[in-house]
């Protein structure tokens, strides 16, 4: 849910930009450090950013019949960690504003705060807690539950923060900020709550498929337990653990079918 250009009063737009700035600066710092440590990371970060953009440009069906765009921030936070996601998310939102007219330039700060700061952190916190709680369960189950929680919580928190931003900008005549929050949250809940559930389900499918076909990348990113738990761009060390972690998962089977479904050059 992107706040359109000109929707927020200038002072509030500036305040949200200031609130998002430290997170984005931290994200850019960790991105720069990652690129300096491993030059190969630059291209992978480029690929990750493009992936985030395309993911958020997909149309997913909502229960009410309308279709809407997923945020993709939950998956992004699990795959790339919230600090990197703050930087990648900001770039994605800038591109969305200039290439797709989703969101604005003066409202970029507010959108970054909800979609590249709060969403990823809440999603990541949900993911870590579910993974910790479900640590006794088989990896596929715990991963699926964690990823669903991440995508659902990230999408829902993004929507809540956006409603709050709108409520602070336009308090209700009688009910104040709380009343306005209820209004905006209700108006947008028609699309956003079913969307969060669908996004959670789609994200589970993505990660389940990736844990078979993209195992190497997930280990490298530290999403699967076989890999080292270090950052998004941990180099050759993570690759070495690939062999030791191999046999837990089937490398082919019914779950890999839909990927061949998606083959373009069939």
């Amino acid at each position: 849910m992107h706040i359109a250009e000109g929707f927020l009063p200038p002072a509030q737009a500036a305040a949200w930009t200031a609130a998002a700035a430290p997170f984005v600066v931290h994200g850019v710092h960790s991105l720069t450090r990652a690129v300096r440590a491993d030059p190969e990371a630059k291209l992978l970060l480029g690929a990750s950013g493009a992936f985030c953009f395309v993911l958020s440009a997909l149309k997913i069906p909502s229960v009410t019949g309308s279709s809407s765009h997923p945020t993709g921030v939950g998956l992004g936070a699990v795959l790339f960690r919230p600090p990197v996601m703050a930087a990648l998310g900001t770039v994605t939102l800038l591109f969305q504003a200039l290439l797709l007219a989703h969101g604005g330039l003066t409202t970029l700060g507010a959108n970054v705060f909800s979609m590249a700061v709060v969403g990823p952190w809440v999603g990541y916190a949900a993911y870590r807690s579910v993974r910790a709680l479900a640590s006794r369960l088989p990896e596929q189950t715990s991963l699926g539950a964690g990823v669903f929680a991440a995508a659902f919580a990230a999408s829902l928190s993004t929507y809540t923060v956006t409603s709050l931003q709108l409520a602070l900008a336009f308090p209700d005549a009688a009910g104040g900020v709380a009343g306005a929050f209820v209004k905006f949250a209700t108006v947008f809940s028609i699309t956003q709550i079913p969307l969060s559930v669908v996004e959670g389900l789609v994200t589970v499918v993505i990660v389940r498929l990736l844990s078979t076909v993209g195992r190497e990348q997930l280990l490298r990113l530290g999403v699967l337990r076989g890999g080292t738990a270090a950052g998004a761009v941990d180099g050759p060390g993570a690759d070495a653990s690939d062999e030791t972690a191999g046999p837990h998962e089937p490398t082919s089977g019914p779950t890999s079918e839909p990927t061949s479904d998606g083959e373009a050059k069939a």
Binding site: E5, K42, A87, L201, I206
Partner: protein
């Protein structure tokens, strides 16, 4: 290609320096936000449209189609201002000042969206991005941003082809299939993006890649007179709006 970017490349204003277009549409955007919505935002929107549809020859139908998304958001958000909740008249009541507030917000935000869209419709991102590093952003970030921009069209194309192949196999025939297909699309996209990045890395290394991707940027001279001329419409709109506002 994406509509906005394709139109930006075709725009007769592509040869105009991005800073000049930024001052023109940015100035009008500031007018739309800062001046009283009536007549300030209306004037700013009208002037921006006159420039966009006139000399910049932005196709009106494509502009409208692209603008529908943000306009739908504005309409939904403004509709919430029509009612008030928790007042003495019951849980949900008609707000007497709501219509005026909603109209003001709709006018202001629509004018701002028009200014933003017209800038995007006349300036390709590829002309804008290399200039970001001169604006003081860290070079590593600018390079990652430029890489994202270059890779995203290939990724979008991949997503479109995978989607078409899935639809051809009834992948979107019912809700269950839709979720499954979208998940498969996302996974395929991720694997292919990473694979493509690795291959690109190898290809670049074979050509002596040291970490810097240098591209040629069309050297457009930036004249102070052009910048000053671009600021004139915004100043005139502000003056006209304030005079009209004082009259009424």
């Amino acid at each position: 290609m994406l509509t906005i970017d394709a139109e930006a490349y075709r725009s007769p204003w592509r040869t105009v320096h991005p800073a000049v277009k930024g001052v023109l549409f940015g100035g009008l955007l500031v007018c739309a936000l800062a001046l009283p919505a009536w007549p300030g935002a209306a004037l700013a929107g009208a002037v921006a449209l006159a420039f966009g549809l006139g000399p910049a020859r932005v196709p009106p139908r494509k502009l409208l189609r692209t603008g529908l998304g943000p306009l739908a958001f504005i309409a939904t958000g403004a509709a919430a201002l029509l009612v008030s909740v928790g007042g003495p008249d019951g849980p949900i009541a008609w707000d007497p000042q709501g219509a005026a507030r909603a109209a003001e917000l709709t006018g202001r935000a629509s004018a701002a969206v028009v200014c933003q869209l017209l800038f995007a419709f006349t300036t390709p991102l590829a002309d804008l991005l290399p200039r970001l590093s001169r604006a003081g952003l860290p070079p590593a970030l600018v390079e990652v941003v430029a890489l994202i921009y270059r890779m995203l069209f290939v990724a979008l194309d991949t997503a479109r082809r995978v989607g078409a192949a899935q639809a051809g196999r009834l992948g979107y025939a019912n809700r269950r299939n839709r979720v499954r297909s979208l998940g498969a699309l996302g996974a395929a996209l991720f694997v292919r993006s990473y694979d493509r990045a690795a291959r690109l890395q190898r290809g670049l290394e074979c050509r002596g890649y040291t970490g810097a991707l240098t591209v040629l940027v069309d050297d457009i001279p930036l004249r102070a007179s052009a910048l000053a001329a671009a600021a004139v419409p915004a100043v005139l709109v502000a003056a006209a709006a304030l005079t009209l506002g004082a009259w009424t």
